[in-house]
Amino acid sequence: MPRQDVLSLVIYFIGLIFLAYPLGTYISRVLEGDIPAFIRWLKPLEGIIYKVTGCNPGTDQKARHYLKDLLAFNLAGLIILFTLLLTQGMLPLNPQNFPGLTWDLAFNTATSFITNTNWQAYSGEASLSYFSQMVGLGTQNFLSAATGLAIVAVLARGLVRKESGKVGNFSADLVRSTIYILLPLSIILAILLISQGVVQSYSSYIVARTIEGADHIIPLGPAASQIAIKQLGTNGGGFFGMNSAHPFENPTPFSNFLQVLAILLIPLAQVFAFGRMLKKPKEGYALVTTMFLLMLPLLALALISEHQGIPELAVNLEGKEVRTGITDSVLWGITTTAASNGSVNAMHSSFTPLAALAFIFQILTGEVIFGGSGSGLYGMALYAIITLFLAGLMVGRSPEWLGKKIEAYEVRLALIAILVPCALILIGVSIGLTHPWGVTALSHQGPHGLSELLYGFASTVGNNGSAYAGLSANSPVLNTVFGLCMLIGRFVVLIPIVLIAGNISFKKSTPVSSGTFPTDGPLFIILLAGVVLIFGALTFFPVLALGPIAEHLLMAAGQYF
């Protein structure tokens, strides 16, 4: 690996932490309703939203009521987006006169953006109007990310509050996350991206005549604004089908740097914010360390594998933009699969098997290594519950997290939230590989084909949204199956965590003593990382062995797919 690549990685991570740390403090203040002075001029906007929607942000809700609001809001969003996509032909801002989507594609796309997955079975520039992109998808890019952040606040409140049972107010959390966190950041990033040449236009596509005399259609659109939130909100749904490999989405090395920074910015900042909200910043540092501890070895694996390349080829640049090169493509791949972002700047199918293994494994852990906006942190919280349960038993004391007892109720819900997604992936891939609807969608045979479907299920269930590519995903069966996967993958985790937060907020808090197992020390970090690894490895080792691992071993033996 060239020295400047190492330097760029170091600059990246230092820059990331440098930005995420203060942002964490900012997020925690916003979620606690303590809006910093410099942004308080937006307060009237917040007030207007409550007035128009008739919400009462002052009521402290019980977990069940909070959850009811959240689910109703998401359901409404789903229905609106579904209808909008079906009827886009009749709606404004459609210079290319795209017709409405088929019902299955509309369902798939609607669930995809509601759940912060942004799995794209369509190609933006070939099927979506500007209206659908901005009003439909753009809105959900914000709201799905804000929903995730709201739950970080819920979890923190559950852990901090004693014998309360109240976890905050959904409308307040949602509105504040959107207008104080996501909106300002997106505007800043969009302007920076436009400065790099990312397009932002409402005109129709340009038809250019090439030297050979052929027509060349150059798609345009309001891309920069969309891309800003796509990266910041761990959405990942590109404006164009090629996502950030497209020069209009990602034209320069600096735009690449900005975007890869934006991918991990909120996922990292929210962990710092969580610690702040607990009034125990060290808890946040411990979780951050755990996440880096899991991600960095996988990054190293992918980098080594990619720089070694394929025996017969000197450099593995297939499927990569020469503008970005190997290191930046690997970094993007690792960050986008760590955060459940799903945007890509290279073809994941073209990566070496071990790099692909690193990508898939991060998704298979349930997107908890940084993970999605909100969802990464609360997903990691589930593993923390299981970890502390085991740790508690091993130190001879009823398990507790930050003084709150972990009992059968929490263990049961945490296990449902961890294992149902795992089960869904295993069942889906196994059935898909033995049925025509799955096998015919594959574009490769052997282990690579298996990886395609595995990646598809992992990406949808884990709400990542990136694709291994190669999979012909736009079929009624796959659209429906993946649509359901995204819904289940999102809500089977989200609902339990809100219920857990509600339940622990009722509990008393046990004071800390030397008999308490500290959750801010190296031992907890190692144990938590170990539990994530072991759970992921034990569940998926057989399928990974037949997928990327077999492909790697075959490659070593001289067989390619």
Binding site: S398, A408, P447, L538, P542, A550, Q559
Partner: protein, 690 residues
């Protein structure tokens, strides 16, 4: 119940447990443990397949061996449970023999009639004389007797039981050694203390503890997900190869073998044995827990309320010094102290006489005097003697300074400042000052010294490391209490404690989220015992106290509370350690079984590429699978002693304990099966079994 000094298990227990392991094969028993039930079903399924193969003449020794080892897995788990249960049963047996065929002399209308013990009801009165066994729980309403309670406590020294006060309760099955007592029945037949003990010991209504329930959920969830992993693997293999032989190689017995190796059978098979033996370990310490929940709660305790007397200090305070007030000499004071204690049979009183006789050579002659002994009472807080000789009355008193002050001023005297100073200085040194007076004249102060038990300070230090706060409870004044607290190294104290104060303190600590354990014996302790998360009642205590607590200490040794806490922690630790071990084991089993299953898939140059995962270099696919299954079965047997004994307990902070357990059981759990499976594979080859 005799004190148990037997080794962990003897051959008799083992033979009985082996028999029981087979009777436990009934589906009803197996259904109670989900993990082992899955193994049980797997064993039945492979048995049927093997039988069909034998019938069709297409016999495979591999399937037969898998079947055998699956049944062994089930039997080994049964054996562990039976072994743990066996010991409790033996104890229940000896308890039961103590109350067999008892008769009672019921008193009805002033007449005694002999009836069976089972016809006694609450409120009935009966009498019991020397040599008779007490037929029903009750309270002495008349008389005093020495009672042999060894049938319950294992303690052969007889105890005194008398009507009134905190020593009035008697228990069915114990034996009156002297005198005659009349007893009012306080428990219906079948509800007596000994009946409850039997039920507890047998674990008849053993409820699952909260942590056991949560752990059970974890084990079920893991089993379910591994079941899915094994079933879905069928699809992955089907996709990955087109050769029917290789697809068929992932046969039902192989699937079951893989499943059984992956699901947490180690902890699943030993779980109930761990729970039962936790109660057993307490029983060995002569503590009976009324529920497993109480044992577990003991592990969570972070505040211990300990009575000073008997726990922190030796029971008796000893007179160490006589300090006269101004204008009084040593001898006068010593004589007065001697006289005031002449009839005082309490240990303190004796120690005063001893000091006076040894140090000052005091001899008092009380012949020809009429003596009226004034015993110590909680209201007056003093004791003494009225000596009447030749019509002249000498009123000798000793007692708490405020009590004597009241007494002296009430009789027209005054309480000198110098006495006040002495009292304060004695109290500051942690002693108990007893002021001595004759009539209305204060003579001086006796310094009673509390002797702190040796080694107790270190013990409290250990508790502090474990994160447990100790609070000393004492009736002493705050000054004295503070001095003893400092000497003993407790974290806090509650001076001049009344039962209400104890209860209030417990509530306050609980409101802050603490878990409290306390020891008590008196009726007035009952509310606090009931309020505490762990209340250990002394067996010598009143019926009310024994009912209120959730544990009973048969030895009535308050220091044992500390051991109870340790046992509770050990119980949780054993479960946690074996769960971690069980899960870690799966890594090695994957590396043994998966290369075997994948051997024929993606073959390049005659070798399946995935055989490269076989880092143990096992003999053949069949030997690899079989070795993993055998290891899985044998590890249960190997860990039975650990399950019964509990993991080694050290009084350390949470961090150190976890660090150690993680290395031993987590890291060990990763390594051990690699070695074990490799060795078994080689043995199988040597024995020509594969």
């Amino acid at each position: 119940m005799r004190k148990n000094t037997k080794p962990l298990f003897n051959s008799e227990d083992v033979i009985k447990a082996i028999k029981d392991s087979f009777t436990k094969l009934s589906p009803k028993v197996q259904l109670q443990n989900f993990v082992m039930f899955v193994v049980y079903l797997g064993a039945i399924l492979t048995s049927l397949i093997t039988i069909r193969e034998i019938a069709s003449g297409n016999f495979s020794s591999f399937n037969l061996q898998i079947t055998i080892w699956l049944w062994f897995t089930v039997l080994f788990a049964n054996f562990a449970e039976a072994l743990a249960e066996g010991k409790g049963k033996a104890q229940a047996e000896s308890l039961r023999s103590a109350k067999e065929n008892l008769t009672a002399k019921r008193i009805k209308g002033g007449k005694e009639e002999v009836v069976s013990a089972t016809s006694l009801h609450i409120g009935d009165h009966y009498s019991c004389s020397a040599g008779e066994v007490i037929p029903a729980d009750g309270e002495i309403v008349e008389g005093i007797a020495s009672v042999d309670e060894s049938a319950i406590t294992g303690e052969s020294a007889p105890v005194i039981r008398e009507s009134g006060g905190d020593r009035s309760a008697v228990t069915a099955g114990t034996k009156v050694l002297s005198d005659r007592i009349v007893i009012r029945v306080t428990a219906e037949p079948g509800q007596s203390y000994i009946d409850k003990l039997i039920a507890m010991v047998e674990g008849a209504n053993r409820q699952k503890t909260p942590n056991e329930i949560a752990l059970g959920i974890l084990l079920i969830a893991l089993t379910a997900v591994f079941l899915l992993a094994v079933i879905t693997l069928k699809g992955f293999i089907h996709y990955s190869t087109t050769e029917d032989a290789i697809r068929a190689g992932y046969s039902v017995p192989v699937m079951i073998a893989l499943l059984v190796c992956l699901i947490p059978t180690t902890i699943g098979g030993l779980l109930s044995a761990i729970g039962i033996s936790g109660m057993e370990r307490l029983l060995k310490k002569n503590v009976i827990a009324k529920s497993g929940k109480a044992v577990e709660a003991a592990g969570d305790v972070d505040v211990l309320l300990l009575d000073k007397t008997g726990t922190i200090t030796l029971g008796n305070r000893m007179a160490s010094e006589f300090i006269p007030v101004e204008m009084v000499d040593d001898i006068t004071l010593a004589t007065a102290a001697h006289l005031s204690s002449a009839k005082d049979e309490t240990p303190e009183g004796r120690s005063i006489i001893q000091l006076a006789e040894i140090k000052f050579n005091i001899k008092t002659d009380l012949s020809g005097s009429t003596l009226e002994y004034i015993p110590f009472a909680a209201e007056t807080r003093m004791s003494g003697l009225n000596i009447t000789k030749d019509g002249k009355v000498r009123v000798m008193r000793k007692g708490a300074s405020d009590a004597i002050e009241r007494f002296v001023t009430g009789n027209g005297g005054n309480f000198p400042q110098s006495a006040r100073n002495i009292v304060k200085s004695v109290a500051q040194q942690g002693g108990t000052p007893l002021v001595v007076c004759e009539d209305a004249r204060v003579l001086g102060v006796i310094h009673l010294k509390d002797i702190v038990k040796s080694g107790i300070k270190e013990r409290f230090g250990q508790l502090r490391k474990m994160g447990i706060k100790t609070i000393m409870i004492t009736g002493d004044n705050p000054l004295t209490a503070a001095a003893i607290a400092a000497e003993a190294g407790v974290d806090d104290f509650l001076a001049e404690a009344t039962p209400e104060m104890k209860l209030e303190r417990i509530r306050r600590e609980q409101a802050q989220g603490h878990m409290i354990a306390m020891v008590g014996d008196g009726t007035n302790d009952a509310p606090a015992l009931a309020q505490a998360d762990v209340g250990v009642a002394m067996n010598t205590g009143t019926q009310a106290a024994r009912e209120a607590g959730n544990m009973v200490d048969l030895d009535s040794n308050p220091t044992k509370l500390i051991e109870v806490v340790e046992t509770g922690k050990q119980l949780l630790m054993t479960r946690g350690a074996l769960t971690t071990f069980s899960i870690s084991n799966d890594v090695a089993k994957y590396f043994a079984i998966l290369p075997a299953i994948f051997a024929g898939i993606y073959v390049v140059k005659g070798r399946g590429v995935l055989e490269g995962l076989d880092i143990m270099n096992l003999h053949s696919p069949q030997s690899a699978i079989l070795s993993a299954v055998i290891f899985n079965a044998l590890i249960i047997v190997a860990l039975i002693p650990l399950a019964l004994r509990g993991v080694k307990y050290r009084p350390l902070g949470a961090r150190e304990v976890l660090g150690r357990n993680l290395i031993v059981y987590g890291f060990g759990g990763l390594i051990v099966p690699f070695i074990g499976i490799w060795i078994i594979d080689h043995i199988l080859v040597l024995l020509n079994l594969v």
